[in-house]
């Protein structure tokens, strides 16, 4: 089969090529009885050229690019999220990375007042912990409800990792509750994550 110039959308069971011309990669497999490569996932058909030093010079065909192949938050995984809304007793955040990988589709998380820190949880002021736009490291507590995952920042190494001051500069953390703007010297309150270097 000739190599098509553009990537086409394939579904499980679609023929991708012959095993004599191509090698199956991610999302593809060889049916040994007729030496044909079929797709096993939904996605875009991509051809990768083989590394020049390998003995088998067949191009690799793979099926990738669909959002279902992306990482999904699981209870217990550490996620990086951006805070979108801060309210009286909860803060909403958009989950951007699960572990080291970035997600392919949008997941929403909620940090409740009792999950912000481990001590004095009923005296937490959400506005003194997060501001909209902050990047936080949190752990997924549970799948939550239909709208959002439940996240928690109740550990020393969880919390705000990066935040912008009202003057627009990236702030420098000075303690577990305070960050300072380098341009104006103003100190703002956040629940800061302890970054272990």
């Amino acid at each position: 089969m000739e190599k098509s110039g553009e990537n086409e959308m394939v579904t499980p069971g679609d023929v991708l090529g012959r095993a004599t011309d191509l090698k199956p990669g991610k999302g593809a497999y060889v049916a040994s009885h007729n030496n044909t490569i079929y797709a096993s996932l939904t996605g875009l058909r991509r051809i990768q050229l083989p590394p020049p030093d390998s003995p088998d010079q067949r191009p690799i065909v793979e099926v990738t690019g669909h959002k279902a192949h992306g990482p999904v938050p699981e209870p217990g995984s550490v996620v990086i999220a951006r805070v979108t809304k801060v309210m009286a007793r909860t803060a909403s955040a958009d989950i951007m990375c699960v572990g080291p990988k970035s997600v392919r589709e949008k997941f929403t998380g909620i940090i409740r007042q009792q999950d912000v820190r481990a001590t004095e949880i009923d005296k937490v002021d959400m506005h003194l912990s997060f501001h909209p736009g902050d990047i936080v490291r949190a752990v997924v507590l549970s799948l939550g409800d239909a709208r959002a995952y439940y996240l928690s920042t109740a550990k020393n190494e969880l919390g705000v990792v990066s935040a912008e001051s009202s003057a627009g500069a990236t702030m420098v953390p000075i303690s577990w509750t305070e960050m300072q703007c380098p341009l104006t010297g103003q100190i703002e309150q956040r629940k800061v994550a302890k970054v272990v270097s």
Binding site: K85, V86, A88, H127, P132, A167, T184
Partner: protein
């Protein structure tokens, strides 16, 4: 007011400022603590204006910009007049002429418990105090003062509510008493509640009085003291 600036740009205190004007140069004033009020922001070493208005200074070190707008920006400890828009399980949603609706917790009343939650109809006018007003969050209100007492907060019955600018509301609440209110008070008897969000409520025994008071206040915004007194006399002559 004492002028502390000795550098070449003339001091801007009490003069009209537009956004972008540099009003203070911090490099020439070292080792001083300056308190910035509304409308001013710090840009590394200079203080520049964000709002158009008059720059005010109060000893020893407070600077702020006084301006008058039709829109209201919620601030903590302001007293405002709000209108009930909706009621939810935990709070009432109140319109206070700000960028978002404000929340009034259902228990924020003197002696408020889960058993005696007040029932406000949609459209009820309330005199309230702003408890929390952070950027990006809905403001939180209360019907008690800081110590938990009712102190005149709560629903306002009868009367007439009209809208003004925020500058006029502040003038009506200033002490010594605003000339318009003093002149009206000498001849008429009425009740008034002023919200810093640009809403004023007036109540009196007869509708004529209410209308005269409302018109007098609305006319007095740009008049000087003497002009206000003359305007009030003129209005009172027509009804008596």
């Amino acid at each position: 007011m004492e002028n502390k600036q000795s550098s070449s740009p003339a001091s801007f205190i009490d003069s009209t400022i537009v956004p972008g004007d540099v009003v203070l140069d911090l490099s020439s004033m070292t080792n001083q603590t300056i308190k910035l009020g509304g409308g001013l922001r710090q840009d590394c070493d200079v203080i520049s204006a964000m709002k158009a208005g008059t720059l005010r200074f109060s000893k020893p070190n407070k600077y702020w910009i006084e301006s008058s707008q039709k829109r209201y920006v919620p601030c903590v400890e302001d007293t405002v007049l709000g209108i009930v828009v909706d009621s939810k399980a935990d709070n009432f949603l109140i319109d206070i002429k700000g960028p978002t609706l404000a929340f009034l917790p259902v228990l924020a009343f003197e002696g408020g418990t889960r058993r005696n939650i007040p029932k406000f109809e949609l459209g009820t006018l309330l005199y309230l105090r702003v408890v929390k007003a952070n950027f990006g969050m809905n403001p939180e209100l209360s019907c008690t003062d800081a110590s938990g007492k009712a102190a005149e907060f709560g629903p306002l019955k009868d009367g007439y509510m009209f809208e003004t600018s925020t500058g006029l509301s502040r003038k009506l609440l200033s002490s010594p008493t605003c000339p318009v209110l003093e002149a009206l008070g000498k001849k008429l008897s009425f009740e008034i509640a002023v919200g810093l969000n640009g809403r004023v409520w007036v109540n009196a025994a007869s509708p004529d009085t209410v209308v005269v008071v409302a018109n007098a206040i609305m006319n007095s915004e740009s008049l000087s003291t003497a002009q206000q007194i003359i305007m009030v006399e003129h209005l009172l002559k027509n009804i008596q």
